[in-house]
């Protein structure tokens, strides 16, 4: 048994064993990965993966079971286990599966990696880093190509095949100048192909250059002040994740979202527009189907500060009597503003150019704090020096309400497109 037959077999078996509603997702992937560290390509891996995700509902009792065994006996046993699990679940009327949609087959990206070019790009990157940034010490570079074929079937007639191929690089490094050491810095980028040299992916060249300046660090000059922070694209991506968390299932089901019943209201700065675009051409990977079986569509999450859509699954939507999201949050894009980064830096009287925040999870009310990493102190519109032992305290809602400017430049990481964003009213504390 191979390919779609595996999913078809499981769906039929679940129904035969008593599932009133059933869903099967079978994913077959091959990852080829090269690793570079200590001046050498030291590891070459091939990972063959088969993952099967089963879901059954009987009398509103739901069960999910995941396995990576695809021989007929194991598949049958997995279906039986799913049915047994369902009987141990309590009934919940909000449990359901996606309705019938058009039968579709999607293709995106390359099926087979260019192995020689992966190796060439890897060695080329290390040579280029040594040449441009001699103080940089590469901890590890991973380049991987992943190709995944997935079959999604359910008992309502959903029948979708997706084929996705993309490359990812993951680079971890620091700078060393004698015994002076910078913090680790990193970049993760996706791409549909290997057309560009790695150093030109995302913001890699910039953060390598900035990290080289970060071997001599000191805290901000004052014990504590209220100032501006300029979030770099990678840092803004992390803050955006904190914001998006309040639009998802967990926060809504537990009534702890900061945006409960706020749909259609202006809840953040009018400068802020956020898209979640699973199938936009700008991105390396496409996400064609949600985990509960809906064919995805691009959507606007916030438009000029107004909350246009939550990112709720079918279950959370049913549970909380709200609308389901057209997707559940992926491939984020924040709209650019009209000021150049240079002008934005020039407009900061006192603050931080924040490349990375090593921070705690936000509290229930959105408060959070963290240590500024790989970041710089700004005074009177000038970048002064790289900092350490400097903490930032703010609130997720305050952060997105106190936006002073968004840059006209942006960075495409393959998985998200982010600009720079200047935010005011942030507590900055030094030593």
């Amino acid at each position: 048994m191979q390919n779609k037959n595996i999913a078809t077999f499981c769906l039929a078996t679940l129904k035969q064993l008593g599932a009133q509603k059933a869903q099967v997702n079978y994913e077959q992937s091959i990852t080829r990965e090269m690793s570079y560290a200590n001046g050498q390509v030291y590891l070459l891996r091939t990972l063959h993966k088969d993952d099967i995700y089963l879901r059954a509902i009987i009398d509103n009792k739901e069960a999910k079971f995941a396995s990576n065994k695809i021989d007929p006996e194991s598949l049958y046993a997995a279906c039986q286990e799913t049915i047994n699990l369902a009987s141990s679940s309590p009934p919940d009327a909000a449990k359901d599966i996606a309705p019938q949609q058009e039968i579709k087959v999607f293709h995106h990206g390359e099926k087979n990696p260019n192995f020689d070019l992966m190796h060439e790009r890897l060695l080329g990157f290390s040579k280029e880093v040594n040449r441009r940034y001699p103080k940089i010490r590469i901890r590890e570079v991973l380049v991987a190509h992943n190709f995944c074929t997935a079959y999604f079937l359910n008992s309502n007639g959903v029948d979708v095949e997706t084929n996705n191929g993309s490359y990812v690089i993951n680079v971890l490094f620091l700078a060393k100048d004698g015994i002076k050491t910078s913090s680790f810095n990193y970049e993760i980028c996706n791409s549909k192909n290997l057309d560009l040299e790695f150093i030109d992916w995302g913001m890699l060249d910039d953060i390598l250059s900035q990290t080289e300046k970060q071997t001599e660090l000191r805290p901000v000059p004052e014990k504590s002040f209220i100032g501006d922070i300029i979030l770099t694209p990678s840092c803004l991506l992390e803050m955006n994740q904190m914001l998006a968390e309040h639009l998802r299932d967990g926060k809504h089901i537990t009534n702890s979202s900061l945006f409960l019943n706020k749909l259609g209201e202006k809840v953040v700065s009018e400068k802020f527009t956020l898209h979640s675009n699973p199938i936009a051409a700008d991105f390396a990977e496409h996400n064609f189907i949600t985990t509960d079986g809906y064919i995805t569509q691009n959507l606007v999450v916030f438009e000029k500060g107004v909350l246009k859509s939550n990112l709720l699954s079918q279950y959370a939507a049913n549970k909380t009597n709200q609308a389901r999201g057209l997707n559940y949050g992926v491939n984020y894009k924040i709209d650019c503003g009209d000021q150049s980064l240079e002008d934005i830096i020039r407009s900061v009287k006192k603050g931080i150019l924040l490349y990375r925040l090593s921070g705690g999870y936000p509290a229930s009310n959105g408060d959070f704090s963290g240590v500024a990493k790989n970041s710089f102190y700004i005074e009177n519109g000038e970048i002064k020096y790289p900092i350490n032992e400097t903490m930032i305290t703010t609130n997720v809602l305050d952060l997105f309400n106190n936006i002073h400017a968004i840059s006209k430049e942006s960075v495409n990481y393959g998985h998200s497109i982010m600009p720079w964003m200047r935010v005011g009213g942030v507590t900055v504390s030094g030593k």
Binding site: Y42, I70, Y361
Partner: protein, 458 residues
């Protein structure tokens, strides 16, 4: 899980590690009385890592049919030859050692059905509802992970291990002065659910303490931002040991340039501080993450990282041991069958001292007693950040008001030099995952320590 691994030795042509592994997970969540998650999963497969001239080829598959196993060994071998042919490494020591070890922590009791496990979760939820009816919300989550591995190397190292873990996470929510507040705790550790949840009373008393912390937090104040005298309890001392010191002393990070590389045999902490990564036992007790053999086939040994304030050793795999000319320490661990072993900590702790916690609190005029941590991060400089969701002011030697969620930070090798008192008690928890490239269960803990560091606030 299959055990007849030896039949595949005939396919070994170069130095080879063959590993069958299955991770079995059960996850049950109860939110405000509703079971929202009831899932099981089993992730299993086989991997081969082949070494040639210090380079490695790796291949894995979830299919463990005989012919597939032969194919992945061959594929790993061809990858190793591809990289090794470009290498110029004169000698590489694979530290051959012949042994056979079997170690299982499976329960000897009757296994519970899924229905019975769901009822255990419901029981904890019912206890919360019965005793604390005025909460705004509550979550109980149980996650079990049974990690079973069979390893065979071409140098005749054989190990079959089963290490289970059961963790219960509880979150309580209430309306505070400025909106929703919450506290949470993770309980449990080594063992299957039948052994870990055999006495609900131990969980009830922890829930009672958690609720008291929630009540205290309703009136919580912001910590005063800046440098402060603090007492870190075992939970926070443990993450300081793991994140801020432990990671910098993993030999792969030392090779990448971590500051610890420049500190070997130098004083890096107060002489009250001794920090050890234990393999499986300490003070006559089995620790939460017992590792007897690592995934490169090395018998695991304890590593004393800091001894009376002096940095003494790093943690090694075979590659770093070759680089530094020392013996590997048995720290190479892989999370899934498809993961290559990396240098990972096991049970990283600060050893207890001679002070009483009450005396430590009494010694602080104006500071904080920090009791719980959420997440934590550190980097090559040993600068760290930990989220602190539960803590209290100390005023004139006495515990005062609760503080709001905050973050602490500092440079660990500086902070450890400020340690002036270490409590005489000790606990080690195994409820966390460490996320260095792969997820990995790790143990951490210690006594309470008194030190100075930076605290976030207003």
């Amino acid at each position: 899980m299959r055990y007849d691994i030896s039949q595949f030795a005939r396919h070994f042509n170069l130095y080879t590690e063959l590993r069958f592994q299955e991770n079995r997970v059960t996850s049950i969540s109860c939110n405000d009385g509703t079971i929202t998650t009831n899932t099981k999963s089993a992730n299993s497969g086989v991997s081969a890592r082949v070494g040639y001239k210090g380079r490695s080829g790796f291949s894995s598959s979830s299919v463990w049919a005989d012919d597939t196993v032969a194919v992945i060994i061959k594929e790993a071998e061809s990858h190793a030859l591809f990289l090794g042919s470009k290498a110029n490494v004169p000698e590489y020591n694979y530290f051959p050692k012949e042994f056979k070890i079997e170690k299982s922590f499976a329960t000897t009791k009757r296994r519970y059905s899924q229905q019975e496990i769901v009822e255990l979760v419901r029981d904890l939820d019912n206890y919360i509802v019965r005793n604390f009816p005025n909460l705004k919300g509550r979550s109980v989550m149980l996650v079990t992970l049974d990690m079973e591995k069979v390893l065979l190397t071409s140098t005749k190292s054989y190990a079959h291990t089963l290490t289970p873990r059961t963790v219960v996470s509880i979150v309580l929510r209430a309306e505070g002065k400025d909106g929703m507040i919450s506290v949470g705790d993770r309980m449990g550790g080594l063992g299957q659910v039948e052994d870990v949840l055999d006495n609900p009373q131990t969980f009830y008393s922890k829930i009672d303490k958690l609720h008291q912390q929630l009540l205290d937090k309703k009136e919580a104040v912001y910590a005063k931002a800046g440098f402060a005298d603090v007492i870190l309890n075992a939970d926070l001392a443990g993450i300081l040991a793991h994140e801020a010191i432990g990671h910098t002393t993993e030999a792969d990070l030392v090779m990448a340039g971590s500051v610890a590389g420049d500190y070997l045999n130098k004083k890096v902490a107060s002489e009250l501080v001794t920090l050890v990564d234990f393999a499986h036992e300490a003070f006559g007790e089995i620790l939460p993450i017992p590792v007897y053999v690592d995934d490169e086939g090395v018998i695991a040994s304890d590593t004393t990282i800091i001894e009376k304030g002096v940095l003494k050793n790093f943690m090694h795999n075979k590659e770093s041991a070759n680089h530094f000319g020392v013996a590997p320490t048995g720290n190479a661990r892989a999370f899934s069958f498809s993961d290559e072993p990396l240098i990972r900590m096991r049970n990283t702790v600060i050893l207890p001292g001679n002070d009483k916690l009450s005396e430590m609190i009494a010694s602080i005029e104006n500071g904080y007693y920090l009791m719980k941590r959420s997440n934590g991060q550190a980097d090559a400089t040993s600068e760290f950040m930990f989220g602190v969701p539960v803590g209290y002011e100390i005023k004139n030697g006495k515990i005062g008001r609760a503080i709001k969620d905050t973050t602490i930070s500092g440079v660990a090798f500086d902070v450890l030099k400020t340690v002036t008192m270490v409590s005489d008690d000790f606990s080690c928890a195994g409820v966390s995952f460490c996320g260095k490239k792969q997820m990995m269960p790790t143990g951490m803990g210690g006594p309470a320590i008194k030190c100075k560091l930076n605290i976030g606030g207003k």
